[in-house]
């Protein structure tokens, strides 16, 4: 149990590093997936500990929402790239006041 939770915490921390430290939008989206997987892993582990199927249902919901999030995020990325010819987050300063 403990090892699995530590693995999920490590995945979450690595994903957080990717979100903060990278400037490539694609990699940021992948890091969000890593963080979601860390949370999923801890939920599956807790389901195993308490013998409840509800957590598996929660994980399925998270997978569905992650799929929706990636679809919208990649569509935004394509729209941004078409206008800016770049996937660098520092180039997205159009809405700066």
């Amino acid at each position: 149990m403990m090892e699995c939770l530590l693995l999920s915490a490590a995945l979450f921390a690595i994903g957080a590093y990717g979100v903060i430290a990278r400037r490539n939008l694609l990699i940021i989206l992948m890091s969000i997936e890593l963080m979601l997987n860390g949370v999923n892993l801890s939920l599956v582990n807790f389901a195993r500990v308490w013998g409840q199927n509800s957590a598996h249902v929660f994980v399925l919901m998270i997978m569905g929402v992650a799929a929706a999030e990636v679809a919208v995020g990649l569509a935004i990325l394509i729209a941004v790239f078409r206008n800016r010819r770049s996937v660098d987050t520092f180039d997205l300063t159009q809405m700066r006041g």
Binding site: M1, M2, E3, C4, L5, L6, L7, A9, L11, F12, A13, I14, G15, Y17, I20, A21, R23, N24, L26, I27, M30, S31, E33, L34, N37, N40, L41, V44, R48, V49, G51, N53, S54, H56, V57, L60, M61, M63, G64, V65, A66, A67, A68, E69, V70, A71, V72, L74, A75, I76, L77, I78, A79, F81, R85, S86, V87, D88, T89, D91
Partner: protein, 165 residues
Amino acid sequence: MSGIVFYPCAVICIISAILVVTRRNPIYSALFLILCFMSIAVIYLGLQAPFLAAMHVLVYTGAILVLFLFVIMLLNLRPPELGRELSPWIRVLIAILCVALFVMFCVPIIQGTKGYTIQPPPHGFGSVKGVGQTLFTYYLLPFELLSLVLLIAMIGGVILAKRRL
């Protein structure tokens, strides 16, 4: 769960996750992400969640990663279009902060799981029948709402990515 399965998978998972966030080329990141997700699916199997393991492989490596690779190949990024990265010492600082975050997670995990013994799971745990029964009795409304979320995401993706409506 047997350590002989868990520990190699955990090591592969951590190393490929670190490679995902450090590679400059997004293609390599996506391929290492596939490796990471496959090892997580094996860990799900070890946690007696065979249905979730199958769903994980189907949804993540089957749908999401293919979408990522498709978009990467659609954009066809050249090195100048990848953008620049933050300077190395700022990245080292952020890495130290993330290690601190991990240590912060570690303390309650190690203290809280002390003395826990895991019982064998009840009958039907994690199987298609058990999860499906829970999903379609207690969580029927969230399931239907999730289909609405996916429909809205699909329409939004088409509208955002289309050149002219």
